[in-house]
């Protein structure tokens, strides 16, 4: 369980705040809000990549700030909005890096790591991409790989910054469906941001929104109302 209270976020000055919020395991959360509203900053803050200006973030009973880099990487997996691929890095190697929090100083993968990687690759149906270089993939393929890397990290909490942007409609649905499945079957808390609000309703996501610099849960919100709110 992740609880947020009186959080103020921003690089130097506060760009958004969150009075109180509670995220549970087994649920797929979708954060909506217009460009520049602070969605990415919020994500980077709850992943511990940039510090909060003030407020409290508790992850499964421990304050985020008390976690070491390693402990954090075993608790939260973060998928950036853009992964443009790395030259000469194969898909298998890339997904394998998701096991980094568990490997020793040499970075060698164990038998269990390989099983986990293989399982995840087949869950996402990307066996054919295994030996391709990550910079040669299409946007949709690359996004699947990035999510697979986060899943392989075996964290209870996965945060994805606009995972469906720049994808075609079929890939958008595929990604949402896979995320929903992981959240429910593996009992993970998954939080994503998106502008595809139809999809958040289609896949029955718990909605969060950033409106007037306030991040909050949107309970019982109808599609039409949300659309209106985003256009306001």
């Amino acid at each position: 369980m992740i609880t947020v209270s009186n959080l103020k976020i921003g690089h130097y000055e506060t760009i958004a705040q969150c009075g109180s919020l509670q995220l549970d395991k087994g649920v797929l959360y979708a954060l909506v809000g217009n460009n520049g509203s602070g969605k990415s900053t919020f994500f980077k803050t709850i992943c511990g990549i940039i510090p909060a200006i003030s407020g409290e973030l508790i992850l499964f009973g421990k304050p985020l700030s008390s976690l070491s880099h390693l402990e954090r990487s075993k608790t939260i997996a973060f998928v950036e909005s853009k992964f443009s691929g790395v030259e000469l890095l194969s898909v298998a190697e890339y997904i394998g890096l998701g096991r980094a929090p568990y490997t020793g100083i040499s970075g060698r993968l164990s038998q269990y790591d390989f099983i986990k990687i293989k399982e995840t690759i087949s869950f996402f149906g990307i066996q054919d991409l295994k030996n391709r270089f990550t910079d040669s993939l299409s946007d949709g393929e690359r996004q699947l790989c990035a999510i697979a890397r986060a899943v392989v990290q075996e964290t209870p909490f996965i945060v994805l910054d606009e995972p469906t942007s720049s994808l075609d409609f079929r890939n958008k649905k595929l990604i949402m469906q896979k995320l929903k499945e992981i959240a429910e079957k593996e009992n993970k808390c998954i939080l994503l941001s998106t502008h595809d609000i139809e999809l958040t309703f289609e896949f029955d996501c718990q909605l969060l929104g950033v409106f007037e610099n306030e991040i909050s849960m949107l309970k019982e919100m109808r599609y039409e109302d949300l659309k209106e709110k985003l256009l306001a």
Partner: protein, 329 residues
């Protein structure tokens, strides 16, 4: 083992070049001479003196310089996520040059010692390296970073020129000799401390293989995979400063090796795994430097070519090739 064919090929090329190196130059050294000068040293034999005093330090220095600069280049290219980064183009060498210039031209005796020279070069390269790291956070484009590096080099170059203008003839001669770059000024008793420093840096890098492999995903991803990127960047700058600084202190500024060799290595091994890249850069860097020095020895009877001239002559066109091939933005 994967790539074993490539390793065997590289090793044979390496050994052939070592052999060729001994066979090049005005006076060649045979294996019998080498064996005798090590195990039955006789100070009345000119070949023995020649081997131990000149040829042995020279070839070891060639190997150290090639390997160190290439590995330093690999570190820079991974850290700045830029295939055109290298210790020379980012001004790391010039930082070393500045402090060595201050040392030689000021005439303080502390700086004339082996340790003083290493120390000065190391501090100089570390300072410029840290400055580049600081600026890199603010510069988004690959080319922008290189431009800043080149400007820093020019700026430091002009400071050095000021210092030169105000120095007396003898100090100036010493400094000019150093700045032309050469593998020949190192003496056998200096080789051991140099080897010690460089070797410890290589061991340090070996322990950074895992974080380096993760760093290719960018700082944010590396951070979320458990890497303290701020600390890692500092360690990388420090290790680069040691490698580039020591080589610059003893051989003068050597351009383009650190930029070109890591690119060749990646093309040859087609991997981003730093465990492989580290060893491959060590051997390919040595090979590149041996080739350059063999050419210098072969042309010795016609003219004396500074090592820096030759590495630029080969390296600069290659860099242009990399720009065209990879479409660096």
């Amino acid at each position: 083992m994967k790539h074993s064919g490539r390793w065997i090929l590289l090793l044979s090329v390496f050994l052939t070049l070592v052999f060729l190196h001994f066979q090049s130059g005005e006076i060649t050294v045979s294996f019998v001479d080498i064996y005798n000068s090590i195990f039955h040293y006789n100070e009345n034999q000119t070949t023995h003196i020649l081997f131990l005093e000149f040829r042995l330090p020279r070839i070891i220095m060639a190997l150290i310089a090639g390997a160190s600069l290439s590995v330093a280049g690999m570190l820079m290219q991974t850290m700045f996520n830029n295939p055109l980064a290298g210790p020379y183009i980012l001004g790391i060498n010039s930082g070393a040059s500045l402090l060595v210039a201050i040392g030689i031209l000021s005439g303080f005796s502390l700086f004339q010692s082996t340790g003083g020279l290493i120390g000065a070069a190391l501090i100089g390269s570390f300072l410029v390296g840290s400055l580049m790291l600081l600026l890199a956070g603010k510069i988004r484009s690959n080319i922008g970073l290189l431009l800043v590096g080149i400007m820093i080099s020019s700026f430091i170059g002009s400071i050095i020129s000021f210092l030169e203008a105000g120095s007396n003839a003898e100090k100036l001669r010493n400094f000019t000799l150093w700045s032309m770059g050469s593998l020949q000024h190192v003496q056998l008793n200096q080789i051991v401390p140099i080897l010690g420093v460089v070797f410890s840096a290589f061991i340090g890098i070996f322990f950074c293989v895992k974080p380096l492999n993760i760093l290719v995903l960018g700082e944010v991803s590396a951070n979320s995979l458990g890497i303290n990127t701020k600390r890692l960047n500092l360690v990388i700058i420090l290790l680069t400063a040691i490698l580039a600084g020591v080589v610059t202190a003893f051989c003068g500024p050597i351009a383009f090796v650190g930029l070109a060799v890591p690119n060749v290595t990646r093309m040859l091994f087609k991997t981003r795994n730093h465990r492989i890249l580290l060893f491959a850069n060590l051997i390919i860097g040595s090979i590149f430097m041996l080739i350059c020095d063999i050419l210098i020895l072969q042309l010795e009877h016609l003219m004396v070519i500074p090592i820096n001239v030759l590495t630029s002559f080969i390296g600069a066109p290659f860099v242009i090739y990399v720009v065209f091939k990879s479409g660096v933005r």
